[in-house]
């Protein structure tokens, strides 16, 4: 019996909601950049297993060029694209508004242009400066201009989303911002404040210096400005995953969001305390006082609180969903959750990964313990289970319903999608054990250690190195599976918008009311200014001190 599927012509697929095409392009472009970055990963995992395969890849001039590509594409480019798509699309659908598409598409192409410049710089081996690009290592101006354009484009997306929100608020006075939009707007405001460091660093200092307009650069000043952004950027990566965990996972689990007021409070806290903490990446730096390092350490511990709140809320909503479907026992209720749903499983595994990532983060945040792990292999171990899993695996999970939602094409082979999810999680867990362990043995990060004789590091680190090598292979398999599912979904022949998944907005058990604290924190603009004042209070003394005692040094190209 033939079943006819309504397949609208390509143009009409987006006619009713053209912002869907915008979101689709952001997400898929980001995922394509991630593919390139991810393919370099196994080479690096093998390096940390003591196996040097770089001779087989002559187009990579060095381990460090490959590492620059991997870091920039995965941590900066993929994340920014995917997040830009999510955080403009979700509010627009929840508020039932449309962003100005001409401006939105201009922003998308500006972002592409920036990335192209930076890619040319890295691929021609003029800018193997890694994704932290510390001066006085000096890359090509194309690199810094490209990076600046990437960030500035994301800020344009932020402004466009805030514009929509402001318009909605004007017409809905006295009402609280709907929850998903609230979370997205808070994230964007946090990013606007957080990105200020890197924008000033690149636009005011690095670009003129790389063009030869200034002769010296102050490495401590630029490094401090980088880390002003370097910490909030991890919340820029994490909070979009939290949006899904809070607002969509309850529905996907068959339940409801338990406490909307607490969700809002956690995002308000993130906006207030994500930025004034960057010095915890500089505990071992000279030229910065112990006093300000301690102040920012305290604020770093404070920003751990909203994540702990999130852990409770999300777990509670999962338990509530499970018990509502017959789940019993102290932990047995976990069994009735929809583990066959790859979108659900990806995100719950991402949450589990973040338990370990967050714990490691507390070690990193502690001024004393930090000395034992700073710049060792522990650090990439940490961030592969945070941005690499909590964020990336969540984004994979989101893509399993969002791409079908945007295109009308069903997810191809959900079973294989589920395999890609489990292999990613297992691969990352094994990688994390290997790398955290290697770090504690003193093996440095960002180092082509496989080109050294075995007596230096390998002989004393056989087990963790074996784990790291194996993990790289598991992750390669996972990536192949995920991209196979992605490609076959996007190039599927059937398109049916009527049966495509809707955005899984969850019902809310305990709603927030527009009074008291909730009314106060709904004024995200006010929170932004309070957050800005706090950042200036804990950064200005240090920055002014550095600025008033300039230490200009020449640039170097050492690759």
């Amino acid at each position: 019996m033939a079943v006819s599927t309504f397949t609208p012509p390509y143009q009409n697929a987006y006619a009713t909601n053209p912002e869907r095409k915008l979101a689709l392009y952001y997400l898929v472009t980001g995922l394509i950049f991630l593919l390139v970055g991810v393919l370099i990963g196994p080479l690096q995992a093998l390096n940390y297993a003591g196996i040097d395969v770089y001779g087989y890849f002559p187009f990579l001039k060095s381990y460090y060029q490959g590492l620059s590509l991997h870091g920039v594409l995965n941590a900066l480019v993929f994340t920014t694209y995917f997040i830009s798509g999510l955080l403009i699309y979700l509010p627009s659908r929840e508020l039932k508004l449309r962003p100005h598409l001409g401006f939105a598409w201009f922003t998308y192409w500006l972002m592409n242009f920036g990335v192209t410049l930076a890619a040319i710089a890295i691929l021609t081996n003029t800018s193997s400066v890694l994704y932290t690009f510390y001066a006085p290592l000096q890359g090509s101006p194309l690199f810094y201009i490209g990076a600046a354009l990437l960030i500035v484009s994301s800020l344009l997306v932020a402004l466009q989303t805030l514009w929509m929100w402001a318009g909605w608020r004007d017409k809905h006075k006295g009402q609280l911002t709907p929850i998903v939009t609230y979370m997205c707007v808070a994230t964007w405001c946090m990013w606007i404040l957080g990105s200020a460091g890197i924008v000033v660093e690149t636009v005011v200092f690095l670009i003129p210096w790389s063009l030869g307009w200034t002769s010296g650069i102050d490495p401590l000043l630029t490094r401090t400005l980088f880390w002003w952004t370097g910490h909030p950027i991890v919340y820029f990566w994490l909070l979009p995953a939290y949006v899904s965990w809070y607002a969509f996972i309850p529905k996907q689990a068959g339940g409801k969001m338990l406490s909307e007021p607490l969700t809002r409070i956690s995002f308000a806290l993130f906006l207030l305390v994500s930025v004034p903490v960057g010095l915890h990446h500089q505990y071992t730096d000279p030229g910065i006082s112990t006093f300000w390092k301690l102040i920012q350490m305290s604020l770093t511990f404070a920003v751990a609180l909203p994540s702990m709140i999130t852990a409770f809320s999300v777990a509670a909503s999962l338990e509530n969903a499970a018990r509502g479907q017959g789940g019993k026992g102290l932990v047995g209720w976990v069994k009735v959750l929809p583990w066959k749903n790859p979108s659900f499983t990806a995100q719950v595994l991402a949450m589990v990964s973040f338990i370990f990532g967050g714990a490691g983060g507390i070690v990193n945040a502690s001024f004393d313990l930090n000395h034992l792990v700073h710049n060792t292999a522990w650090i990439p171990g940490h961030f592969h289970i945070t941005v690499g899993t909590a964020t990336t695996l969540s984004f994979f999970g989101i893509s399993f319903w969002l791409l079908p939602h945007l295109t009308g094409k069903p997810l191809w082979n959900p079973r294989l999608a589920l395999w890609s999810v489990w292999t990613w999680f297992v691969g990352m867990m094994v990688f994390a054990v290997g790398m955290h362990w290697e770090g504690l043995l003193g093996i440095p990060r960002r180092a082509h250690i496989s080109s050294l004789p075995a007596e230096v590091y390998a002989d004393g680190a056989r087990i963790p190195m074996a784990l790291t090598g194996i993990s790289g292979m598991i992750l390669l398999v996972s990536a192949v599976l995920y991209y196979l599912v992605l490609a076959r979904t996007l190039w599927g022949k059937e398109r049916n918008l009527e049966t495509a998944p809707a955005i899984p907005f969850s019902e809310i058990l305990s709603s927030a009311k527009p009074v008291g604290i909730q009314k106060f924190i709904d004024d995200v603009g006010l929170l932004f200014w309070i957050a800005a004042a706090l950042v200036l209070a804990v950064y200005l003394p240090t920055l002014l001190e550095i600025f008033n005692h300039p230490n200009l040094v020449p640039g170097w190209k050492l690759w």
């Binding site: 060095s62 460090y64 510390y134 006085p136 290592l137 490495p219 401590l220 490094r223 338990l258 406490s259 607490l262 071992t284 730096d285 000279p286 030229g287 910065i288 006082s289 112990t290 301690l294 350490m297 305290s298 511990f301 751990a304 609180l305 702990m308 709140i309 409770f312 809320s313 509670a316 509530n320 018990r323 509502g324 507390i362 502690s366 001024f367 004393d368 313990l369 930090n370 000395h371 034992l372 700073h374 710049n375 060792t376 003193g442 440095p444 990060r445 960002r446 180092a447 082509h448 250690i449 230096v456 058990l509 305990s510 001190e545 005692h549 230490n551 040094v553 170097w556 050492l558 690759w559």
Partner: protein, 165 residues
């Protein structure tokens, strides 16, 4: 699930989280303020002119005895070596290390100790550590500095204390 029960557990969890975070932060701050481990010290204004390094203590990077079991070392880091690249001490000796870079940012980590320093050109980083245990301590650069980053190493040889009867 009873919403009231959830709310009670919520309050309990958040209280426990706040207490845990406060304790951890306080413990870490305590360790810093009591110099339980080698904190990196420097004055922000204490720069060194890289073009005039020879006129500074960094011009003579060698171990200098300050007292019975205390030593001072002005060391430099550059792509891709530390100077000096080997020193010898005795177990129980205390080393006051000051280091700067001649070119880009390097790292200086003495493996199997908490000494971990970000070495920034023109900035002087100082830290003090007492080597209680004899052995050979590997010193590695742990901040990417270019193609030779992974070969940039030094050694601190700490011999056992000679007990004089």
């Amino acid at each position: 699930m009873n919403l009231h029960t959830v709310e009670r557990f919520e309050k309990l969890w958040i209280s426990l989280a706040v207490v845990m975070l406060l304790l951890m932060c306080a413990a870490s701050a305590f360790n810093v303020l009591n110099s339980v481990f080698p904190v990196v010290r420097s004055q922000t204004s204490q720069h060194v002119d890289l073009s005039k390094l020879a006129t500074t203590p960094f011009g003579k990077p060698q171990l200098k005895r300050l007292g019975f079991k205390t030593f001072e070392l002005y060391a430099t880091a550059q792509a891709f070596m530390f100077t000096p690249n080997e020193i010898q001490l005795e177990a129980g000796d205390s080393l006051q290390l000051s280091v700067t870079s001649k070119d880009v940012i390097h790292g200086l980590q003495i493996l199997n100790t908490p000494v971990n320093i970000e070495v920034i050109p023109g900035e002087v980083a100082t830290t003090t550590y007492t080597f209680d245990k004899p052995g050979v301590y590997l010193v590695v650069c742990n901040e990417y500095c270019g193609l030779g980053h992974h070969i940039m190493m030094a050694k601190i040889i700490v011999r056992a204390r000679k007990v004089v009867a």
